[in-house]
Amino acid sequence: MNAAAEAIAERPATPPAAGSETVVHARGLTKRYKNAVALDGADFQVGNGRIVGLIGPNGAGKTTALKAILGLTDFEGDLKVLGMDPRRERPLLMREVCFIADVATLPRWIRVHEAIDFVAGVHPRFDRAKCERFLSRTKLQANQKVREMSKGMIVQLHLAIVMAIDARLLVLDEPTLGLDILYRKQFYQSLLEDYFDENKTILITTHQVEEVEHILTDLLFIRDGKVALGTTMEEMGARFAEVLVNADKVEAARALKPIDERAAVFGKSIFVYDSADPEQLAQLGEVKRPSVSDLFVAIMKGTYA
């Protein structure tokens, strides 16, 4: 048998299909703080090989959910991450899970080469050569301290470290907050080109929904500690529709029970529908898939009221 055939033989006969294996499995996930309930019996699953957007208004419980997944906080309910209990098996779990919590959480005193040496020293799945290759595309110097870097450069360093770790789940909590558009685009571009594959799963929370919309495969809307919507992007396109309706058909459009209505230019209105009949919608006007942010607004209506 030649080397190539051996390499193939070593891999599982059929690689797990996307979504066939659950990476995160939460049942009745609940977290109470002294004066507030951050998570109120949330149920959700994250499949293998997916890029999931965990999206919700401020205070909806996004960060608490991530903290529970990462074993940073105690909780009630069932939660398994890669089959492990994050509360009891955190050190082991963190070999398989990577994490970027908003920007600038790298310690300010550390130098680039120290950060790399340290992670290489403690992380069994870190590939130093890979990390150095990513860094060579940036302007970062080995001797540079984090305190001397801009926010964008700190994220470049953090991302280079994280992408060099062969983890199964990458958790990103507002990873591009406060970065300029060039860094933001580059961040997600690198993730897609150099990191993501069918054996990796990415869980992202962000308020900049427009920027991640085109890379997400799944959506999890969270509201008041509960999952308001959990869907794949394909299902979302089949289930929800957005129609641009002329003023004369507004009454007919309202009769079909839209979940949201908002004004557009030239006296037209935009209606969002959940599971409506496509043929009926087509008679009202131009039908398209709603954007994630429009759908989010429609579903979260009244959150702050």
Binding site: P91, M94, F99, A101, W109, E114, D117, F118
Partner: protein, 329 residues
């Protein structure tokens, strides 16, 4: 050995060193440098003074005289000279200890607090390192790494001082080797200091635990919590006693509770209770007896040593718990 140096735990220790090398290393180097500078200034001042006064030192300190003096020196004199040289090393050690106490005290207060304040804890916690390993690495950095660096710098400073004095002797035509180097025993004292690191470390556990708990637990101002609580408790206890109500013996309270919680990181601070309990004479002629091997062995027979160590370990365990579950919401 190589495997140990490359173990994840060794990297945790290196991490502590990187973050705190300013205190662990450079503060010590600065202190030793200042002593050396003062030595040089003193020699220069002496030379200038001598030149101005027109006194020819060689009359008193000439080669013949010194060599003669040495030849005629009794065993007792030589012994005194060696002790004197050891005392020079102890002076370096004393200054270095003062620096060490401040560095270690504030290192421990910040060890589990600073990274929570700047949120870099989220980076450390994203790595496959247990909180127990993290906290223990900080204990070892404070109790072993910092003192070892201090000892190395102390020894280097002492040798530096000897070289400076030797050059001065040479400038006056006196052979320094017979006088200075043959009788100095820095290495035996160095070994002694190394053994003392172990005694100091066990003795320091309650303070280490106490500071780490506050460092891990409070939302802000760990210094205030850690320092004010024992002092207020001590004052209250004293006040209750003033009122004639039953209280803990004031001296016991300050010495064994407040003192052990805050001051046990002072190197060789077990000398006083040790002397009281075992009658080791450390104010008499033989000042080094207080830190002799026998005295150190005695120290391990002190109940304060073991009770303090147990309390300290319990406090460190509490710090680990806080590190694991403290939730910055």
């Amino acid at each position: 050995m190589n495997a140990i140096l490359k173990s994840p735990f060794a990297w945790l220790l290196k991490r502590e060193y990187w973050e705190s090398r300013r205190g662990f290393l450079w503060a010590q180097v600065t202190a030793a440098g200042v002593i050396l500078a003062i030595t040089i200034l003193g020699i220069i001042a002496g030379e200038v003074f001598r030149a101005r006064m027109g006194v020819n030192m060689s009359v008193h300190m000439g080669a013949a005289n010194l060599n003669e003096m040495l030849r005629s020196a009794s065993a007792h004199d030589i012994d005194a000279l060696v002790k004197g040289l050891d005392m020079t090393l102890l002076l370096f050690g004393f200054i270095s200890s003062v620096v060490l106490v401040f560095v270690v005290f504030f290192y421990l207060l910040g060890a589990l607090y600073d990274d929570r304040r700047d949120r870099s804890i989220l980076f450390w916690k994203s790595l496959p390192v247990s909180d127990t390993a993290t906290v223990i690495s900080k204990v070892i950095a404070a109790l072993v790494i910092a003192p070892l660096i201090a000892i190395v710098v102390t020894l280097a400073g002492y040798i530096g001082a000897q070289i400076i004095v030797s050059l001065w002797f040479l400038a006056h035509g006196v052979n320094p080797f017979g006088l200075l180097w043959a009788h100095s025993e820095p290495f035996s004292l160095w070994l002694h200091l190394l053994v003392m690191v172990v005694v100091n470390a066990v003795w320091a556990l309650p303070t280490v635990g106490w500071l780490l708990v506050w460092s891990a637990a409070v939302r802000s101002k760990p210094f205030l919590w850690a320092v004010v609580i024992p002092i207020v408790a001590g004052v209250l206890n004293f006040w209750i006693g003033l009122l004639g109500l039953p209280n803990v013996d004031t001296q016991f309270f300050w010495g064994n509770l407040v003192g052990r919680a805050l001051l046990s990181v002072i190197p060789a601070s077990w000398i006083a209770p040790n002397a009281l309990s075992h009658g080791v004479d450390f104010v008499g002629s033989d000042q080094l007896a207080a830190i002799s091997y026998a005295s150190m062995a005695h120290a391990f027979a002190l109940p304060q040593m073991w009770i303090g160590a147990i309390v300290g370990i319990a406090l460190i365990a509490a710090a680990i718990w806080f590190r694991r579950w403290r939730d910055e919401a």
